[in-house]
Symmetry: C2
Subunit: 218 residues, 2 copies
């Protein structure tokens, strides 16, 4: 398990995933006009664990007020700040196949402050086109220039497996520090670069295991 | 953390994910003509933990042989069996947008014994077409019939968020017991159905957290 330092504490990726979930819950409460909520209230409404919520938030400061709980708007703002979402995050997607196009048009991104500045590809018939939501497809050789000019934060890899490592290397050379990889197989990055891989095969195999081995205890 | 029973033991989803990784490693060794490997050898070559490998495998039986280690082909076969991959797993993908099409053509599936029998959609101009790799797009109303006739194991959801819950309900009503969901937001399933959600927003926010909070300790 990788851990990120937050003010001396060690914060696991499971914690950051839970912070994302809390943020979703608070957005939903805020949209319904709810002003304050207790950790118990949050836990009950969204099937979470109240003690875990308090523990996770305690890594980052004192957000609750005795007898009131949390101010929904305040905690939402704090969580966005903790998650680095208080600014626009620039993303390039490398590989403009079906998956790359699907990711470029993923509605969740824009709501969340992620800004997909370009799709990159080498295919002549794709370069110069646009995704359905209007993301331009540029030539992959523009990567370095784009990263510098647009201050790109995250590169998403949706290229065939046999092109994945050289694409990662190019992204790292262009100055990218965070990569989300959708290609199968393991990839190497230098220590200062954060790589997350979404291996769909592993996810499917966990469902297959469930089907083969019967019931699950929650 | 959900846990699946395996012969009286409790096996977490993290364990099944590691089993999938071990299987990938063994496939790679087998393809290179390696006959036997020790847990130390596996750990060294693939940056894994030898004690963890032995512990994970011990849930399912005695696979190592003193002085030899594991027979690569045997352990591969055992792992495929444990993961329920010793038979073809039938998959339908509901939603034939870019993401659904990308998933239908995902090469990792076929190698692994997953058989995508159909994409389902309601759009007239899509029904009757095929994905690039030849998966037929059928009308969503054929779901129940398909599940029964083809003995479909897994439904993949790649529909817009506002259609996700009704699609899950239809899949459950059709007899599906395992669902992989790519739509944002939380979904309800009855206890006998296994639902896994891939929330891309959460994955992106964990990268954003890394960028905002500096370096990572492996």
């Amino acid at each position: 398990m990788e851990r990120v330092r937050a003010g001396g504490d060690q914060v696991s990726e499971l914690t950051t995933a839970r912070l994302s979930v809390y943020l979703r819950c608070l957005e939903s409460l805020d949209a319904s006009g709810v002003n304050t909520v207790s950790s118990q209230g949050l836990a009950q409404q969204f099937a979470l664990n109240a003690a875990q919520i308090r523990k996770d938030l305690a890594h980052f400061g004192e957000f609750g007020i005795r007898g009131v709980g949390y101010y929904v708007k305040d905690l939402k703002r704090h969580l966005r700040q903790i998650l680095g979402l208080d600014r626009s995050i620039k993303v390039v997607i490398i590989g403009a196949g079906n998956l790359g196009l699907a990711l470029a048009d993923y509605a969740g991104f824009r709501q969340d402050g992620f800004d997909v500045v370009a799709l990159l590809d080498t295919a002549r018939d794709k370069v110069g086109q646009y995704s359905r939501s209007g993301v331009p497809i540029r030539h992959a050789k523009e990567l370095e220039w784009l990263v510098e000019r647009e201050k790109v934060d995250i590169a998403v890899l949706s290229v065939p497996a046999d092109a994945a490592q050289e694409t990662v290397d190019a992204a790292v050379a262009a100055g990218i520090r965070a990569i989300l990889n959708f290609s199968p197989g393991s990839l190497r990055v230098p220590p200062h670069v954060k790589l997350k891989s979404m291996d769909l095969t592993i996810t499917f195999e966990s469902l297959s295991f469930f089907l083969a081995n019967g019931h699950i205890d929650a």
